[in-house]
């Protein structure tokens, strides 16, 4: 009997600067999950037929590929996307073509905010949440750990100026302002800037206690290196995903001085306590990890990127797709949309730990955004990743301020 199948266009950046910034790893996560589902015999009699495509780190290529996959390859839906610069135009395009799009990664609020898209869903945390969480973390710990009242806390916000960095920084600034923190500097820069020494100098002049940083990979290592060499000091450095999620690179770049850096990200799926998750999920986590190591045997510390894409893809395959097929009778965009709107996963129900629920029409200005998603604050200590915040998930008591002995610690 002819097997039924669902054709999915999977788009990430396999080339260009973003590839190494994490997109490549996200793509791996999605692929591992798709292979896993197929090895389980597919979903409700449907095998998954992925068509992988490379957006080459360029928005116009992403648009082209999206259109091609939909119109030429006649895929039933799209999944993936790493860069928000691509998500913004592609989501608009796909929605106007009335096709279903499941975003695993792009986090910029701009993708969904105020756009009222009908067919685009994002189980992923959005950028402003990152920014808000880091400020919340500071608010709760400034007095106790740093001995500084939150209102007195000097905060600097720096970010790569793409949609991702700007989105997160917007969240940072909004939350910090609301809490009355002292924002001494807020500045964006291009991720390909060959020199950040002026930025470091400005930071030194403004003497922030805490630096909130959002960036991709090369700019983060450049910043850390120049900060170290120019003698920039802080009490805490909080990164926000992307480049900060690739732990190995941080330690490769600046050695042990990368210790005690914080990173706000969806939790690394391998760091979660299996007991906090729904039964069966931890087996999948383990399997994803095993496949990951098979694909990239050199890995020292498993990056959160792989798990993130795997988890977000799994939500679709395990929850949305079966409902669409069983309840709404198909895999067309309309059925998938209805199924997605009914998703209601409680916390602990995904590999990433958070639950999933999308807003009903009119409920939010961010239609398609998972309202139950939340990142965590992690802290890296000696190449190990610990969860520092929120309190319920803590696996470490956050080390704050930066202990003496680090090149970045205040004398």
């Amino acid at each position: 009997a002819a097997e039924k199948k669902i054709k999915i266009g999977v788009i990430y950046d396999y080339t260009g600067p973003l590839a190494g910034g994490g997109s490549d790893l996200q793509a791996l996560g999605a692929k591992i999950m798709i292979d896993h589902i197929n090895s389980q015999g597919g979903v409700e009699g449907y095998m998954i037929e992925p068509i992988y495509a490379d957006a080459q780190s360029k928005p116009e290529v992403a648009i082209n590929e999206a259109v091609r996959l939909i119109e030429q390859e006649k895929v039933d839906m799209l999944l993936g996307f790493y860069s928000s610069a691509q998500c913004v135009p592609v989501a608009a395009k796909v929605d106007s073509l009335k096709k279903f799009m499941w975003i695993t990664t792009c986090i910029s609020p701009a993708v969904l905010k105020g756009r009222n898209l009908k067919y685009v869903f994002r189980p992923q945390v959005h950028g402003a949440m990152f920014g808000e969480l880091s400020v919340d973390f500071l608010n709760s710990n400034a007095q106790s750990k740093l001995g500084i009242a939150p209102k007195k806390l000097r905060v600097a916000i720096i970010h790569e100026d793409g949609p991702y960095g700007s989105g997160v920084a917007g969240g940072n600034a909004g939350a910090a302002k609301k809490l009355g923190m002292n924002i001494v500097l807020k500045e964006g820069y291009s991720a390909t800037a060959p020199d950040l020494s002026s930025l470091v100098t400005k930071l030194k002049r403004k003497k922030p206690d805490v630096i909130l940083h959002t960036g991709y990979n090369p700019d983060i290592t450049l910043f850390l290196r120049q900060a170290k060499e120019q003698g920039l000091r802080w009490k805490a450095l909080i990164g926000h995903g992307a480049g900060y999620g690739v732990v190995d690179k941080l330690f490769d770049a600046i050695g042990d001085d990368a210790s005690h850096i914080f990173n706000v990200d969806p939790v690394s799926i391998w760091k979660l306590d299996p007991k906090s998750l729904a039964p069966g999920l931890s087996d999948i986590t383990a399997k994803v990890g095993a496949e990951y190591m098979k694909a990239k045997p050199d890995t020292k510390t498993k990056s959160a990127h792989v798990g993130m894409a795997a988890s977000n893809a799994l939500v679709f395959f395990a929850d949305v797709l079966p409902r669409a097929i069983k309840k709404y009778g198909g895999i067309d965009a309309e059925s998938l949309r209805k199924a997605a709107l009914e998703t209601d996963i409680a916390p602990g129900g995904t590999l990433l730990g958070y639950g999933v629920k999308f807003p009903k029409a009119g409920e939010s200005d961010m239609m398609g955004q998972n309202m139950r998603a939340s990142p965590v604050v992690m802290q890296y200590v000696d190449r190990k990743v610990y969860i520092a915040w929120p309190k319920v998930l803590q696996t470490i008591d956050p080390v704050l301020p930066l202990p003496k002995g680090s090149a970045y610690s205040k004398k």
Binding site: Y12, Y14, T15, A19, A27, Y52, A53, D54, Q56, K58, P59, E60, V61, I63, N64, E65, V67, R68, I70, E71, Q72, S84, A85, V88, P89, A92, K93, S96, S108, A110, D161, G162, P163, S166, G188, S190, P297
Partner: protein, 337 residues
């Protein structure tokens, strides 16, 4: 006669194209190619006279951004916005061109000054991110569903196809008009020897400026078109050094001295990129356990090699080479270099 017939046939095929059951995606490609072809044609109008500008990314960006900003911020219809954008690009061309020509900045120097221009414009777009969206890109606001004449927006590709086709043809016509004009002789002369040209009465600065402004304005128009069609622009998709180089490469591959050269260049380079990307896909091939090749890099690699081979072996581009062959067969002789 013969060539007129050929043109008629080509025109008929082009007009009939969407009715010949061309799928939506190929139609999309054709539209994109037409828009780029127009931009490339615009570049070659000056490029063929040795005015190698690496600054056309700037003009294209001005075309797209000014049009979109006017629409979003002031609600000014692109019908007015595009002419304003073209005016801006023309102004920018004068701003950079006049001193360049006055001070005799030619050759590599001109190329690099204009290269700096595209970087300046790109950086300014990025730096004014509060208005332009920075490297996030910029989207003209939709004016309802379906298609809107006032906003020059359309969901229907067919409409855009015919607009793009008309624009492209206009580009070819402009190219030919310049080619037949007296200005062409003047510019050929200028490109070889400015002093000698001035000595026979040619107004060097003015002639150069005229063609530069024409070229810039055409490129800006292409930028606006691109924006209206894709409904998205970003500093890297229609501005910056990358785009400037893309334009130059395509024209050289196609043939700089022929009206159809830029178009052929667009067809070849854009299709090549498309085909290579799709064909090669995203898999990694491992030679051994440890040594894996990332074949995603192959398109870039092939593109590079092709470009080099083209330049070494077909320095006049594809159209130029074909035309030479054609001429040689008709004359039974070898064409002069």
């Amino acid at each position: 006669m013969n060539s007129k017939l050929l043109i008629a046939v080509v025109a008929a095929v082009l007009v009939a194209l969407p009715f010949l059951g061309l799928d939506s995606y190929p139609l999309h490609l054709v539209i994109v190619i037409l828009i780029w072809s127009f931009a490339y044609t615009g570049w070659s109008i000056m490029g063929r006279f040795g005015l190698v500008s690496l600054g056309h990314g700037a003009f294209m960006a001005v075309g797209g951004y000014v049009t979109a900003l006017l629409w979003n911020e002031l609600g000014l219809t692109p019908w007015i916005g595009i002419p304003i954008a073209m005016l801006c690009a023309g102004g920018l061309a004068v701003l950079i061109g006049y001193p360049c020509f006055k001070f005799r900045i030619v050759g590599h120097y001109f190329a690099l000054v204009t290269l700096a221009l595209s970087e300046v414009v790109r950086q300014i777009i990025i730096a004014t991110r509060d208005t332009t969206g920075g490297s996030l890109g910029y989207t003209p606001e939709r004016h309802g569903d379906g298609w809107s004449v006032i906003a020059l927006q359309s969901d229907d590709r067919m409409v855009f196809y015919f607009v793009a086709l008309a624009v492209w043809m206009a580009g070819i016509v402009i190219w030919r008009l310049v080619d037949r004009s007296m200005a062409r002789y003047a510019l050929e002369a200028i490109s070889e020897d400015e002093d000698a040209s001035a000595a026979v009465g040619v107004r060097v600065t003015r002639e150069k400026l005229k063609v530069t402004v024409l070229s810039a304005v055409m490129t800006a128009f292409a930028g606006a078109m691109y924006c209206q069609y894709q409904m998205f622009i970003s500093p890297d998709t229609i501005g910056g050094v990358g785009i400037s180089l893309q334009i130059v490469f395509a024209v050289v591959v196609g043939g700089i001295y022929n009206s159809l050269g830029p178009t052929i260049g667009a067809v070849i380079t854009l299709l090549l990129a498309e085909v290579l990307r799709i064909w090669i896909g995203t898999e990694a091939y491992c030679l051994t356990e440890k040594i894996c090749l990332n074949v995603a890099g192959v398109p870039l690699l092939v593109y590079g090699i092709m470009l080099i081979l083209f330049i070494i072996f077909l320095p006049k581009g594809i159209v130029g080479a074909v035309a030479d062959r054609w001429q040689a067969r008709n004359n039974g002789s070898v064409p002069a270099k």
